[in-house]
């Protein structure tokens, strides 16, 4: 399994490649090495999960991909461009944070609309009321358009945060442990909804989590990151077909794969 699991990253991305990192390194001014020699290639439309011990640099890596942090070594491209360039040229990129990061002074519908109001592009696409309503319907928030964020439950806030990230129709969605603060049942529901949204539009997804079962359930392959300085040490394909239902979590093969990755993670962390 291991030999098959660690397939070459270039092989899988001969077709349209959206994200590439080569020899990527990041050393903070304090001297702390967060990332070293990170190699990654993600094809357009792929759903990839990244797991790793806490503090290994998973979140930092996503921020480099989003152009929020400049790497200090190597290079990274999104659609052939530097991330901040890709970000500026169009709404190619969206980010879902660990917290819902809703603006408390905006109603649900106005939070949803926010990304469309930002940026300096002329003739920016304005979403019609119908489009906004459809986006709310897709995450089950139709009845809450006029509510304030604090009136929503944690799971609903996260759904809104997801809908907001997708409102610009991005090609790349970066997710930084978005469901980490939710209870298990809500997390599973949101996993299923997230897959539905992905199958709907087929954006490219990079999903950081420390929950191996969640990573296996969602993704087409799971990348395992080493402790700091982080780099990818394992690339495990997940063979299950989509659409994936809740019953997948009960299957033996699912449990075996989850256990296998968890064990490798433990080995490395020890």
């Amino acid at each position: 399994m291991t030999a098959k699991g660690t397939r070459s990253v270039t092989e899988s991305t001969a077709s349209a490649e959206l994200v590439r990192a080569e020899g990527l390194g990041l050393t903070f001014p304090s001297g702390v090495r967060a990332l070293a020699e990170v190699e990654l290639a993600v094809a357009a439309g792929e759903f990839v999960a990244i797991v790793g011990p806490s503090g290994c640099g998973k979140s930092t890596f996503l921020r480099v991909l989003a152009g929020l942090i400049e790497p200090t070594a190597g290079r990274v491209t999104v659609d052939g461009m530097a991330p901040d360039q890709a970000r500026r040229r169009s709404h190619e990129l969206a980010f879902v944070f660990q917290h819902p990061t809703l603006l408390p002074w905006r109603r649900v519908i106005d939070n949803l609309r926010l990304p469309l109001e930002l940026g300096r592009r002329k003739g920016q696409r304005r979403a019609t009321a119908e489009e906004l309503r459809a986006a709310l319907r897709r995450v089950g928030l139709s009845d809450f358009a006029r509510a304030w964020p604090h009136q929503l439950s944690g799971g609903m806030q996260m759904r809104l945060s997801l809908a907001r990230a997708l409102i610009t129709d991005p090609r790349l969605l970066l997710m930084d442990e978005p469901f980490g603060a939710l209870d298990d049942l809500t997390r599973q529901q949101l996993n299923e909804e997230l897959l539905r949204l992905w199958q709907d539009r087929r954006w490219t997804g990079l999903f950081v989590t420390h929950n191996v079962a969640e990573a296996v359930y969602l993704s087409q392959r799971v990348l395992v990151m080493s402790p700091r300085p982080g780099r990818f040490i394992l690339d495990v394909p997940v063979p299950f077909d989509y659409p994936r239902g809740a019953e997948l979590r009960g299957e033996a093969e699912f449990a075996r794969l989850t256990r296998q990755i968890s064990e490798r993670l433990m080995e490395r962390a020890a």
């Binding site: 980010f95 917290h99 990061t101 603006l103 002074w105 109001e117 304030w148 964020p149």
Partner: protein, 260 residues
């Protein structure tokens, strides 16, 4: 419905009323028992009598002092917000000017009030300026904090979507500052009344402008202690009223979206 209203009254109103009644009774008993001369401490009944006797002067004074305090407070909110905005735009400016903003807080207002009278003349405008100076600092500090203490996630969200500096200001920093400014205004509401009264100590000596500060000095000068007590009581009530007003307006602005 009526039961709930009664319950609310019993829960919220009863304790302070009981404290008040006990306080007045103890006050009365102590004055009588220790035979304190009315010149030093009048009984509650005498204070009440003085308040009734001078109610017109007291009410007029409350209106005048209240108007001066509110004008000073409003001016402080405008000037303080603008100052906070300038501070939030540049760390260098903030570092350069902040020590002098603290000056506003540390300079004894009693000491500079005569100067202000000298510059702006006897009367209402000088009282407003003293109230303004005393109210300004909490607005500046709270406003600056509100404009600069932005949640990291919100900052990154705006960066991801390529927000311009202007959009960050209008759609993130300013709305973020509103609750902070409301808190600042609430702190300053009490200070504005204090400022107005202190201002009147120095600027209120004319027949037309008889504010609470003037009445306090007048009654003190004439050793009419019961009247002095009544004036102090009126000052306290005025402070409470302005605090309640500012709190009410502030809640109306913020409460709908404040985290429950």
């Amino acid at each position: 419905m009526i039961q709930r209203a009664l319950r609310f009254l019993a829960d919220r109103l009863l304790p302070p009323v009981v404290v008040f009644v006990v306080f007045v009774l103890v006050w009365h008993e102590l004055v009588v028992w220790l035979e304190v001369p009315p010149l030093l401490v009048p009984t509650p009944a005498r204070v009440w009598g003085a308040a009734l006797e001078h109610r017109e002067a007291l009410l007029r004074a409350m209106r005048l002092t209240g108007a001066a305090a509110l004008c000073g407070l409003a001016l402080a909110i405008v000037v303080g917000s603008l100052t906070a905005f300038v501070f939030s735009q540049s760390v260098v400016i903030q570092r350069g000017f902040y020590p002098y903003a603290i000056f506003l807080q540390t300079v004894p207002v009693v000491a500079i009030a005569p100067l202000i009278i000298l510059w702006f003349g006897q009367g209402f405008q000088s009282v407003v300026i003293v109230a303004f100076i005393l109210s300004l600092f909490p607005i500046i500090t709270n406003g600056t904090t509100g404009l600069t203490a932005i949640d990291r996630g919100h900052r990154e969200l705006f960066a991801i979507h390529n927000a311009t500096r202007w959009q960050v200001l209008v759609k993130l920093r300013i709305p973020n500052a509103v609750p902070y400014l409301v808190t600042g205004a609430r702190i300053s509401s009490g200070l504005s009344v204090i400022g107005a009264i202190v201002g009147e100590f120095f600027a209120g000596f004319s027949d037309r402008n008889r504010g609470l500060g003037y009445l306090i000095q007048l009654s003190h000068g004439q050793l009419r202690t019961a009247y002095l007590f009544a004036a102090i009581l009126a000052s306290t009530l005025l402070g409470l009223a302005i605090f309640a007003l500012v709190t009410w307006i502030g809640n109306a602005i913020v409460a709908r979206w404040r985290e429950a």
